[in-house]
């Protein structure tokens, strides 16, 4: 185990979030069983007061969990200098079997957490607690995910041994027996490239058309397309996209397909990924919000939020695409082609 400020503060943060969520879930059970909006009984009025408190707590807890992905990536990058064989976050995450599992779970969970945050936000926009039962049912449903998230993260940090030599992006790529399933890196680059541009054309097109027409099916389609575009973008970073950055920024060879190197240029790397997550999350939420518009007390606030989310998704994906294209151009000016493979 490597003990340093970043690792310890994340473990402490995770434990606090977990305890808060377990408490909230236990209260959620009570709310699910006892909630009667029509009643003016002491218990009901107390639950109304309590749900306000719990949802405020949960809001902070989950916002921290969303940010913890960023912390996790930054810490992995930082730990590379303590782990033998690690040159960047790839090597750190590859140091034991929990690293990448934690990353994938956190990435998946961030969509769940932000969905809950949006549902909670909408619930507090109405006077009649329209989503209170949904909110707590979801909280109970994703508690296992949160526990898995916390478990993997803690196991990852506590199992890191400075003596074990890890394999980093450079070598892991070449090893046929790559233990942690980097099939993505061996994915045919031309197919990935095609999928990337198709997914972006489709997603940006759908989001734009949704904003013009505001139709239900466009909202749902935008959400699905956004999720696909997000996944394809990650695939792209493991295949054809990362070398543009790695060559332009660091002069690495073109076969260096590591998606984490770009984080070493923090002013570019973090905003670049932030745009991707913004696009993916906001885009998915466009669809998540759609069925909530059915609640009479939410119609206005949900519709307004949906439009804002669609705009944010356009901004995120648009920005990610533009930066990618910019680096392809820079790469082209250096290498003379964008089809380097």
């Amino acid at each position: 185990m490597i003990l340093n400020f970043w690792v310890i503060s994340q473990i402490v943060g995770t434990v606090i979030v977990l305890l808060l969520c377990i408490y909230a879930a236990s209260q959620g059970v009570r709310i699910l069983l006892r909630w009667q909006l029509e009643s003016a009984s002491e218990e009901q009025l107390e639950l109304e007061k309590r749900t306000y408190l719990i949802s405020t707590l949960m809001q902070y807890a989950l916002a921290f969990q969303v940010l913890s992905l960023l912390l996790f990536a930054a810490t992995a990058d930082y730990l590379a200098s303590f782990i033998r064989g690690a040159m960047c976050a790839f090597g750190s995450l590859n140091a034991n079997s929990y690293g990448f599992a934690t990353l994938w779970v956190k990435i998946f969970a961030i969509f769940v957490y932000s969905s809950w945050l949006v549902i909670n936000h909408l619930d507090t926009q109405a006077e009649d607690y329209p989503l209170v039962k949904l909110k707590y049912a979801l909280l109970l449903l994703f508690l296992p995910l949160l526990i898995a998230d916390a478990y993997l993260e803690i196991r990852y940090y506590t199992s890191i041994s400075p003596n074990v030599i890890t394999s980093c992006c450079g070598s892991a790529l070449r090893t046929e027996t790559n233990p942690y399933g980097f099939v993505a890196m061996k994915f045919p680059t031309n197919v990935a490239m095609l999928a990337f541009f198709i997914a972006y054309a489709l997603t940006l097109g759908l989001l734009y058309t949704y904003l013009r027409r505001r139709q239900r099916r466009l909202a749902l389609a935008s959400g699905i397309a956004s999720l696909a575009a997000f996944a394809v973008s990650l695939l792209a970073m493991f295949t054809f996209l990362s070398p543009y950055f790695n060559v332009v920024l660091f002069g690495l060879p073109t076969q260096h397909r590591c998606p984490f190197e770009v984080l070493r240029a923090p002013a570019i790397g973090y905003p670049f990924y932030a745009l991707l997550f913004l696009g993916g999350i906001a885009g998915v939420l466009v669809a998540v919000v759609e069925p909530l518009k059915a609640k009479p007390s939410l119609r206005n606030s949900a519709a307004k939020l949906q439009v804002q989310l669609a705009k944010l998704a356009l901004l995120g994906f648009g920005g990610f695409l533009l930066i990618s294209l910019a680096f392809m151009l820079l790469f082209y000016s250096m290498v003379g082609t964008v089809f380097y493979h």
Binding site: L37, A40, E46, E48, Y52, T124, E127
Partner: protein, 226 residues
Amino acid sequence: MIRCEHVTKVFNRGKPNEVVAVRDVSIEVNEGEVAVLRGPSGSGKTTLLSLIACVAKPTSGRVFVAGKEVSKLPERFLTLFRREHVGIIFQQFNLIPELSVVDNVVVPLIPTPLPANESRKRALALLKNLGMERRSDFKVRELSGGEQQRVAIARALVNNPRIIVADEPTAHLDTALAEEFLRIMHNLKREGRTIVIATHDPLVFQHEMVDVIFDMRDGRLVEVVR
């Protein structure tokens, strides 16, 4: 306009210092009426008033104000509702001594989208109505008790509330000033506003404008005099 159904307010529930300040009270005040909550010290007048004024929520029971079940509103909406519909005159005036008279009156309008000069205009018009136009730029600490009372009234009225709530408004006033206060309240009644006053001052509850008196003892409603 105001209806309480089986309203109970308990402080420190489940602790050794538990107090049932209001116990199963049901009252109704119609639009444009003046109601008085009367009772000895500690009988729950201020507590019931705070429930009507949307400052606090009951432990159980329902409070309806202007057709809305305010006892069920989430805190945020309760605050918004109060700002829009209720004017409160506190026993201690609760003015800010270092601010000028007009600035004190404008305070409740700060969270609203009303432009600053518009707010000021409204405040000055109210002060003029209360005969305070020559004092508008004085600091509150430079005013007499009666003048401060009128600033507090102006502040309660600045958002043009349909309901005005006053807690022991004459407790710190001499007879002349108390009568002046009642004259102002009477005018507000004539404008159609609904007024609830907590008091044990006979000058208030014997006044001709009073439509209904609710007598309270130990948190209970013991008599309604119409």
